[in-house]
């Protein structure tokens, strides 16, 4: 299979942005699902992994914005830090997936994924500490919010995202990372 074309990358990005609106609604039945299961992060990380950093960045920035416009979630007050966080997830996962080549698809995916998840959380924490909640944001609040509360979401992302990428490769919807291996 050939490289993904610009048009296909654009449409995949559009689909991932739309999923940023749809998936949180699917989790809506579960109380507090947004902060625990992090449904909006899944399409953003996936878009970065498949299409590269510019598309991941756009998906991460536009996904929360459109979701806020269409469904009111995240509320306007939480929107700016969430846009920054998701944009960094998309950008970092895309950048790492372009840079990391270990000749093992699973290793590439996990390195990119974990690197993006850490980078996004660090940048989001810094943004909250320095801009959005200057002076009143602590290390404990950061660790609690981004790692402890979100632990189920982190586990879901680590289990689910590589499976989705492999399912898409198997279905021939995206090219294999290392054809013939």
């Amino acid at each position: 299979m050939k490289e993904i074309t610009v048009v296909k990358k654009a449409i995949i990005t559009a689909i991932c942005i739309a999923l940023c609106v749809v998936l949180p609604q699917a989790f809506h039945a579960i109380p507090n699902a947004g902060t625990v299961y992090l449904p909006m992060h899944i399409p953003v990380l996936l878009c970065g992994l498949i299409c590269g950093w510019p598309y991941g960045l756009l998906c991460g920035a536009a996904g929360p914005l459109l979701s806020s416009l269409f469904t009111g979630m995240p509320p306007a007050a939480y929107l700016p830090p969430m846009v920054i966080e998701c944009a960094v997830y998309g950008c970092a996962s895309g950048f790492l997936s372009q840079v990391v080549h270990t000749k093992n698809t699973y290793a590439d995916l996990y390195i990119s994924l974990v690197g993006a998840m850490l980078t996004g959380r660090i940048v989001a924490g810094l943004a909250r500490a320095l801009i959005f909640a200057g002076g009143s944001y602590s290390m404990a609040a950061w660790a609690g919010g981004y790692f402890v509360t979100a632990l189920p979401g982190i586990v879901i992302q680590l289990v689910l995202l590589p499976s989705i990428v492999f399912a898409l490769m198997k279905a021939g919807l995206i090219p294999a990372r290392y054809p013939g291996r």
């Binding site: 048009v7 559009a14 739309a18 998936l23 699917a26 809506h28 269409f70 469904t71 509320p75 399912a167």
Partner: protein, 263 residues
């Protein structure tokens, strides 16, 4: 999940519908600046009246315009309660356990709720009164200065437009897959959190596969018709603003400036 999101375009013949997309987007930004800079209760009262006027002018039902805000009633309730009870513990009406309700907390809570409510209502009026293609053109026009630094404004506008048009389709797709999974024994309505979470997980892989299949088909169709993506900077002529557009912009700028100045 069982209902489509509010904020999807509804055609009508109204003053707001007739404005150009770019003018509407700019007006929205100006009004947001005004709302964010409002600090008094009478100020929010004026914004409520202005929003009601916008809804009336756009000839959309209040239910459509306020749908997403009404859905957040519990969120608003919690925000109001938290502000009321914890905002200013130094000067409370009464003190009971950890709760210290105060007048300042009540005012702060009302302001936060009013701000979010107004922003949601205004963005709904914009989305409901603007066709997706018009919105795409408007976004492309407003993003066009970014072409100077090599950002493909046309491609970004196309991506956002396709995303907006895919939202209802993906909602339906997800609902169908959800029904299929329910028929196979998934327990979406279980009162137990773990059951709900376990039920949602098998939903995700089929949703992604179906969505990417659609992306594959659409991108092939677009490429077959010669679309290659607007990666090169190219000049596009946009229609000039009409008198009504300038008038709307002036009015919104005046309102926003007034609220910024009396802040």
């Amino acid at each position: 999940m069982r209902q489509l999101p509010v904020g999807l375009y509804q055609p009508a013949d109204s003053v707001i519908h007739r404005l150009s997309g770019s003018a509407k987007l700019l007006c929205m930004l100006l009004l947001l600046i005004g709302v964010v800079n409002t600090t008094t209760l009478p100020g929010y009262g004026i914004w409520v009246l202005l929003t009601a006027l916008l809804i009336r002018l756009a000839r959309i039902s209040p239910g459509t315009a306020l749908g997403s805000a009404v859905r957040l009633k519990w969120f608003f309730g919690v925000i109001l309660f938290m502000n009321l009870c914890f905002y200013q513990p130094e000067d409370p009406w009464v003190r009971w356990w950890i709760f210290s309700p105060s007048y300042a907390g009540l005012i702060q809570g009302i302001q936060v709720v009013a701000r979010v409510f107004l922003l949601l209502a205004m963005s709904n009026v914009l989305m409901v009164s603007t066709a997706p293609l018009v919105m795409t053109d408007a976004m492309e026009r407003l993003l066009s200065p970014l072409r100077l630094i090599g950002v493909p404004a046309g491609l970004i506008a196309m991506i956002l437009s396709v995303a907006i048009q895919f939202i209802p389709t993906l909602f339906e797709e997800t609902d169908n897959i959800r029904k299929a999974q329910t028929a196979r024994g998934a327990r979406f309505d279980s009162p137990r959190l773990w059951d709900k979470a376990k039920a949602v997980l098998p939903l995700l892989v089929p949703v992604f596969l179906a969505a990417f299949k659609r992306a594959d088909e659409l991108s092939m169709a677009m490429e077959a018709r010669g679309y290659r993506g607007d990666t090169q900077s190219r000049k596009k002529k946009y229609p000039p603003f009409q008198t009504a557009d300038w008038l709307a912009l002036l009015l919104c700028a005046a309102v926003a400036a007034a609220f910024v100045m009396i802040r």
